[in-house]
Symmetry: C2
Amino acid sequence: MKLYNWQFAPNCRRVRMFVLEKGMDLPAMSEVIGDGLRLTPDFIQMWPHAIVPLLELDDGTRFSEAMGICRYFEDINPEPNLLGSTPVERALVTMWERRAYDEGIIGTAEVVRNGLEAFHDRGLPGVTEVVPQIPALVERGQGRVRRFYDKFESQLRESRYVASDRFTFADITSLCAVDFAIFGGMPIPEACPSVKRWHANVSARPAAVSSA
Amino acid sequence: MKLYNWQFAPNCRRVRMFVLEKGMDLPAMSEVIGDGLRLTPDFIQMWPHAIVPLLELDDGTRFSEAMGICRYFEDINPEPNLLGSTPVERALVTMWERRAYDEGIIGTAEVVRNGLEAFHDRGLPGVTEVVPQIPALVERGQGRVRRFYDKFESQLRESRYVASDRFTFADITSLCAVDFAIFGGMPIPEACPSVKRWHANVSARPAAVSSA
């Protein structure tokens, strides 16, 4: 089993942290395919979708998408449970994990992909042709991240973890979103003390440190 | 159990079709909350996330996100299986379902939300404050949909259905994506005969007709 892994990509960190929380041997399966802020040309040639992370099984089956890979790992390695133990918990983990992705990670990606010179002509991930940056998306993305923080502040004021009273995959993706937002120049606002408390707590987990 | 349902929204259609494929009684649970191209103000007041679809259980628990709701339905009503029967099939359904969403539905949403006068100042879903349209996103969204068609043409040339040799949730989301793209002025290209063959086949299912 091989996990193609780009250190920079927040979607790869979601899977790295999931693997470490499962107690699986990450270094044994991880293959580095990114160089700083770029995927290596060899990887793109092998996988023209140019989407990471990518898991390759020993029989050659390949699939991408962090949620798909993590569902696979949860199926073959059920403990500790990270995707939910009951139908309702599974639905809530799926919902909050997706909110963190759609608002936090995608909002930050809009800011980074359309604002940093390093991503000139690479305005979208997963595309090998030229995609011009759209400067107006920087401001729109900042708004998405601001609303992400507000929404998660409301939720974390009521709940110790994002989707449940225990640590789940929703916390992993939310942590990756917040750390990506910090990278993108959008630290946790002062008005979000519950997010700060939760972030300090989750960041102290060994898997958070090792996956960063 | 109540499913808050906006007829226009492709994400609501994903769940409507899933429910019908499961043989569940959609009219008995469905509550209409959209008027043409707008959610009703009553719904937004009740659910400030302003995201649809939303499921409300009899005990008052609420969750949104089509994938979260469908996971819940698959758990409480396992047959016919639509999310995958084995770990690998579940991963492949998750991956392809997500590609159809991220490229087909989001690509079209960029075109529609940033191009149609009806969405003036509503450039993003799930936001109640003003989000100005960004005209440059129309072209970028068209590119995403063009690549979506190309990618699914390659896949459907090799496979009768999107993720597997049988009908799954990946076909539901892909159908909703294609029909949304057609609404957005991006019909299936002539260069994609396999997508056309698959689309005619899947569109003939009773659940496709009743959910449209």
